[in-house]
Homo-oligomer: 282 residues x 2
């Protein structure tokens, strides 16, 4: 992997790297925030724990890093943050034929596509679960002690990946996640095209279905603005709460009055999420 | 003026407005952060003090608001923030003939142009000093108790506008300001085209010339990263320090080791600037 940028921020470093992904068959870029403790660890061959952040539709590795205001608290807590891209990229990677924002490039939905032409490149699930952490742990002062969070489509990614790999993550959080993609337009479009028409195959990527089936044994925090334009049609946090009740799982859902779907919402509560994860990242 | 967006953030509101500017002869957009205290004041016909933020080359009202991470502390301190655009805008407004980033649209340099074709629209000095505060104070729960800050070209703007209007502002700060535009390529290009070739006319917009001539009677804080690519050729903070010595003015210049010219630098120290201004905004 090749470092392509570095900027000092809150005594740590924001870096971008690119690498050839074997899962996605294309060149990928990701960003990492190394808190001061990680720069110290880098000198000593030591490591710090990490939060993986999955962004929403249309985002790249940049949105969270530029807009979330997360580094002050990450620096204080000594937690690294890794922000991958939201889909495979590059000229050879197929996109929605109309360039829609909610499918194809920028909209990988953190799953392994099974349908042509998507199945060659769109393996974001394996990329996030296996390839990226291996790369990170091999090349950076970052340990395998990790938590996962995300926003909107990335909140769906954080919940599904965290729930399906409970021994690999210490805690899960999400802002405005797509909680029940099988029952909303964004999810139905993406799952239909990436996974085919058999809805039984969709269940493996639906947080509410997963959580209803199996009790979660790790802490889960969800923040949702009640002035979010996508709340009723696309996000459906109530489905997640009902699923948790069904399996006897504990999740914290906080409805935040007046907040919308933007990074201004994330900025307002990211400190809470970082401190929530810090309690488990030991 | 017409409100075009509103998002809740740290219990306050980020709003964008557009209005027809009589100084600039075009429609302008600006952004404002109203802390919780301002929303309370709005109900009671009361007001809060304000920091005007001037952005750098290529920016709009959005860059600082999205990337600086300023709202947590502004909310705590009860200070509003106003972020105007960096130049006149719109179809009728002339731009650099080659679309250069450092002149024309996005590069108004906070001065009143005297040369055709720029002199019709490029009156950012009068817009920032007079028109915008009048509009703000008439329509929002924001008082005339104000300070001014900015970045790069906007740091030049904050310093020159603050120094030329010392009774109007409580304090000045800047990140990576262009300190001596008469002696750097960005300034020479812009001043030559906006103001003509008589360098005597440039002096009114050069912070180092202004500060050398007259003792400053308000607090001034400057942060400058020593890994900033523009430091030696364009920014020249040493000229400002020498000017302050010449007039017996107090300024605080902090050289910040390892920091560059980006918003990651601003994000790291904006809290210090807000607390610095809060001491004077009474």
């Amino acid at each position: 992997m090749e470092q392509i940028s570095c900027a000092k921020v809150f005594d740590g470093e924001h870096r971008q790297y690119q690498h050839q992904s074997s899962e996605l068959h294309c060149q990928m870029r990701f960003a990492v925030y190394l808190p001061p403790a990680a720069l110290e660890a880098e000198k000593n061959g030591d490591t710090v724990p990490v939060l993986y952040w999955l962004s929403g539709l249309t985002c790249t590795d940049e949105n969270f890093m530029q807009k979330a205001g997360a580094f002050r608290v990450a620096a204080e807590l000594g937690i690294a943050i890794v922000a991958p891209d939201t889909s495979p990229r590059g000229e050879g990677v197929p996109d929605d034929e109309n360039g829609a924002y909610d499918f194809g490039l920028g909209a990988g939905f953190y799953l392994n596509a099974t349908q042509a032409p998507w199945s060659t490149h769109y393996h974001m699930y394996d990329y996030i679960v296996d390839e990226l952490p291996e790369l990170i742990e091999e090349n950076l002062p970052i340990s395998s002690v990790k938590s996962i969070s995300g926003h909107s489509m990335g909140g769906h990614g954080a919940l599904t990946i965290g729930l399906k790999n409970q021994s690999a993550y210490c805690s899960i959080s999400a802002f405005s996640p797509i909680c029940n993609p099988m029952n909303c337009p964004w999810g139905q479009k993406a799952f239909g095209l990436y996974l085919g028409n058999n809805q039984a195959d969709w269940q493996a990527y639906d947080a509410s279905v997963l959580l209803a089936k199996e009790k979660a044994n790790l802490p889960i925090l969800v923040d949702q603005g009640d002035a979010d334009n996508f709340l009723v049609e696309q996000l459906k946090p109530q489905a997640l709460v009902e699923a948790a009740q069904q399996s006897g799982s504990d999740i914290i859902l906080r409805m935040q009055p007046g907040y919308d779907h933007s990074y201004y919402f994330i900025q307002s509560f990211i400190e809470d999420h970082l401190r929530f994860h810090a309690e488990s990242l030991v």
